[in-house]
Symmetry: C2
Subunit: 357 residues, 2 copies
């Protein structure tokens, strides 16, 4: 196993210790149960919290700081964190404004965040759980009912984090914005190589020397299809067209209803992209792909978007939501309006994303 690790079972803890030592001015780490928290929390601000299995760094811990997340709950690699992590993180950073949970759509995460949502609300801390389910590749995959939550999570954490910090949104308005980001964001990824979970010691799946997987999940879950290696332009086209030409997507989501003091279920529909739309484009490394290759992809993505009448008004190119050392790329497009764009442009200061301050 070619990795910089000590004992595989210590990997997540040691990573957290490194983050704490490196960014102790901005974040703290609680080890029992595990969560990363922002050190100075403005009074009255809604606390924005996410979490999920480790192995997707810098997401989520690298996004804790000013203008993005207030806490992140890391599970073991590719394993959901437990409800007590989210519950304790919520109690720690709640500053009078309540808690917004950003939840990627994987069965374990969804269940555990729901439990923590209920626990916090019972405790008198108003908490809403919003879902990210943006991966157009497959529906009902390994670990998931419905679409998986992937790249849009990064953009949502930035935009919603800014609205909580700089826009001083209250909890309900913040949940509305988060939902708007989710329905307007779509992603799809692909893998050139698999990755190895440290404690497993061998690759999560096998890919032939001349094969790639289109529509890969961020835990190495199967995608849409496997095919012979193609050029960067062909790969970009496969991903971009799947995203841009995706039809309306309707599902039922379950969120905590603050007024009713209980759960509500409702339908949510993603509107398809339309010519004339303005978008934020993310070209994301799956972890092991160098930035030079991402720019080759971006070049083609830009051309495809132009042809389809989409204008890329902002972009984010790098490794933001990853699968350990997996080589490959994920594309995310998010349709923006003035509100989303204003929040995107606000300052942010976190270990992994920083501008304007």
């Amino acid at each position: 196993m070619k990795k910089l690790v000590n004992r595989p079972e210590d990997f997540v803890r040691e990573m957290l210790e490194g983050m704490e030592k490196a960014h102790g001015d901005l974040i703290g780490v609680n080890y029992e149960p595990r969560y990363i928290y922002r050190k100075e929390m403005p009074q009255g601000k809604v606390a924005v919290i996410s979490g999920g299995g480790s192995g997707h760094e810098p997401m989520h811990g690298g996004f804790v700081g000013i203008g993005m997340l207030d806490a992140a709950c890391p599970g073991e690699v590719f394993t959901s964190p437990t409800p007590d992590q989210m519950y304790e993180a919520g109690k720690k950073v709640h500053a009078g404004g309540g808690v917004l949970f950003i939840v990627k759509n994987y069965s374990g995460d969804v269940m555990n965040f729901e439990m923590a949502t209920e626990m916090l609300n019972m405790e008198g801390i108003p908490t809403i759980n919003v879902l990210v389910d943006d991966d157009v590749a497959v529906k009902d995959s390994l670990y998931t009912q419905g679409r998986r939550g992937t790249g849009t999570t990064v953009l949502m954490e930035k935009i919603v984090g800014a609205a909580a910090e700089w826009g001083k949104y209250d909890l309900k308005r913040l949940a509305d914005l988060a939902r708007k980001v989710n329905v307007n964001g779509r992603s799809m990824g692909m893998a050139l190589t698999p990755c190895t979970v440290p404690t497993a010691g061998k690759p999560t799946f096998e890919l032939g020397e001349d094969e790639m997987e289109i529509g890969i999940g961020i835990h190495g879950e199967p995608g849409r299809y496997r095919e012979p290696l193609a050029t960067a332009d062909e790969i970009t086209e496969r991903l971009a067209l799947a995203i841009i030409e995706d039809g309306p997507y309707t599902r039922t989501v379950k969120e905590w209803d603050l007024d009713a003091g209980g759960w509500k279920e409702f339908e949510l529909t993603d509107p398809p992209f339309q010519p004339g739309d303005h978008v934020i484009a993310m070209v994301n490394s799956m972890g092991g792909t160098p930035v030079s290759e991402l720019y080759v992809v971006y070049r083609k993505l830009h051309e495809i978007c132009e042809k389809k009448g989409l204008t890329i008004v902002r972009n984010l190119i790098g490794a933001y939501i990853t699968s350990l050392e997996m080589q490959g790329v994920m594309i995310t497009l998010l349709k923006v309006d003035d509100e989303i764009l204003e929040m995107w442009d606000k300052p942010v200061k976190t270990p992994a994303l920083r501008w304007g301050m």
Copy 2:
């Protein structure tokens, strides 16, 4: 070859096209000869320019912008750019303050930057070439007389770029600062896997499944030794102690002398680290290593520095100077004083490094 490429011979050009489309507000690209340049150059400011073979992204092109580089000259992958690239880039961004070339110590780069230095000075554009030769691993390796230029380059470009932008240093004072950064910075890297140059189509070297190379060069040049895979802590110790315990290093450098209007050669000595020193620490991915593993390394590096009496006052953790998709890590320590630290903290806005604006 598992890469996101089209025709391998188009790789560098297509990467540049992607960068131009993504960051056109900040940078422009000239294709014949090739250089990336900053769009708006303040009058009177010294132009800070670097360059070298491609494949080390985001260095150097990703550091062109405000408060860092004003131009970067990319060669083909792992191949020096030609003197006409540096010469034309110099003429393009010269704004009355002259040109500072930051040159990594590889024979081709050194020769070609010297030629461009001479050409620009002959043309009446005052130009000084400063060297980076900070890699403690080996002396006189493949492509190099003396030590190789590696991680300190990133820190120098940030610090010297800030001094040119915000400190309004003149050319001679800027060269003095650059030299000070070089003698106080030391690096060493290691590889878990090799990398593949797109036009070659096969790995630059072979490494067994249970082997690693300590002291690797950024083009895959041989390091100090090859040995069985060790733990992250052991690897960190190998690199950190080689850096911290390195003795004084003296070599002769050749720089353009503005007053004499010709070349001068002089001796330069790197002072060893001393207990009590304050340092900037960079833990850098060789390209394919995920940030989670870098934090495991940083954790141990922090501990070693403490034991050795060095205080890490700033850090940079991520992929900044890379070898395509190579897995592995490089550590750089730079002893700082008030001047260096002040410039480190100044705002920067480039595709790959951004804070404070």
